[in-house]
């Protein structure tokens, strides 16, 4: 079990790129950044970075904000 954007998901072992597809975001989408357990995972590592059980994954993008 991992936590993706605050929601538990049965995606142990998935890559960041696969998780982004789950969220409806194309691989290497513009305007997207990812952190795992509070550490940035650079875009180049998305296809080969696998998440482990218990990982907290934050997948972020641009929202309107002052």
């Amino acid at each position: 079990m991992i936590i993706l954007n605050g929601e538990p998901r049965e995606r142990d072992g998935a890559t960041i790129a696969e998780l982004l597809v789950d969220l409806g975001v194309e691989d290497r989408a513009r305007g997207v950044a990812v952190a795992v357990n509070g550490e940035i995972v650079p875009r180049a590592q998305w296809p080969r970075h696998h998440v482990d059980a218990g990982d907290r994954v934050e997948a972020l993008t641009a929202m309107q904000g002052g």
């Binding site: 975001v25 997207v32 972020l60 993008t61 641009a62 929202m63 309107q64 904000g65 002052g66």
Partner: protein, 271 residues
């Protein structure tokens, strides 16, 4: 250089931040617009070149891409660290924004509490120092405190962005004297950030000597955001012109604007 009937040619020094010239002295915050179409219309009305955005969790249900809309408008992105309460969170958020948007510019916000959204000065300074060391162009949202503004400049911030009053309050500039003190000492651009409620607030900021204004809620939450976008752009331009023109000093008593000499003697003849 002569005057034409419809346009007075006025030269102004360019608005430069971190060596980059910006066409517009108004920076638009994108928060609070009810629809992306309204945001796009407001961007055109403000003629802003730089707009702020926030970084939040991807919402699979979100309709329309903010980044696409902003790209169509031809504006540059200024990511913020809104919602961060510690230097660490703000630094990580800035790095995530750099990864997402490919810009090392950041509007640095480190907030002290939810009720006031006022900056947490020690955390702000720590975050600014770390981000400057990491190569960021740091534009900090700061208190209207001349000493803190100087400290932020000393650690290498590219501008200082003092608040006029709390974010979204529309209370205008509560302490114009402090803003003037910040302007007097600053060696980097001063951009009034937060508190603008209407066009006159933006004009006052510029009259006080600010180099620019950052405005979101006053435009986004106005009843007619596009009309207010025009108004606040005009306010910024009017204030800038007035600052350069040099206002008359305030005086307690009246000073006649008609000549005192040559007054007619209209006394009736003595009966």
């Amino acid at each position: 250089m002569g005057l034409s009937t419809d346009q007075i040619p006025i030269t102004d020094t360019p608005f430069e931040v971190a060596g980059r010239t910006l066409r517009s002295r108004l920076i638009l915050g994108t928060g609070g617009f009810p629809r992306l179409e309204t945001l796009a219309d407001a961007i055109r009305a403000t003629r802003a070149e730089l707009v702020t955005i926030a970084l939040r969790r991807i919402d699979p249900a979100a309709r329309g891409s903010l980044v696409d809309v902003l790209e169509e408008c031809g504006v540059e992105l200024l990511p913020n660290t809104a919602g961060c309460y510690t230097a660490r969170d703000a630094v990580v958020t800035a790095r995530l924004a750099r990864e997402a948007f490919g810009t090392d510019w950041v509007k640095l916000e480190v907030i002290g509490d939810e009720r006031t959204l006022l900056p947490d000065a020690p955390e702000l300074l720590l975050a600014a120092e770390e981000l400057v060391a990491d190569g960021f162009v740091v534009l900090p949202y700061t208190n209207d405190d001349p000493i803190l503004a100087r400290r932020l400049e000393d650690v290498g911030c590219a501008a200082v962005m003092p608040l006029g009053s709390p974010i979204g309050s529309g209370m205008g500039i509560r302490n114009p004297y402090n803003i003037a003190l910040i302007v007097e000492r600053a060696g980097v651009p001063v951009i009034l950030d937060a508190g603008v409620g209407t066009a006159s607030d933006a004009a006052l900021a510029m009259e006080l000597g600010c180099d620019g204004v950052l405005c979101a809620s006053a435009i986004a939450r106005a009843q007619d955001p596009v009309a207010m976008a025009h108004a606040i752009r005009a306010g910024v331009e009017a204030g800038r012109l007035a600052r350069g023109a040099g206002r008359i000093p305030r005086r307690l008593h009246a000073e006649a604007s008609s000549p005192q000499d040559g007054l007619a003697d209209l006394t009736p003849p003595v009966a």
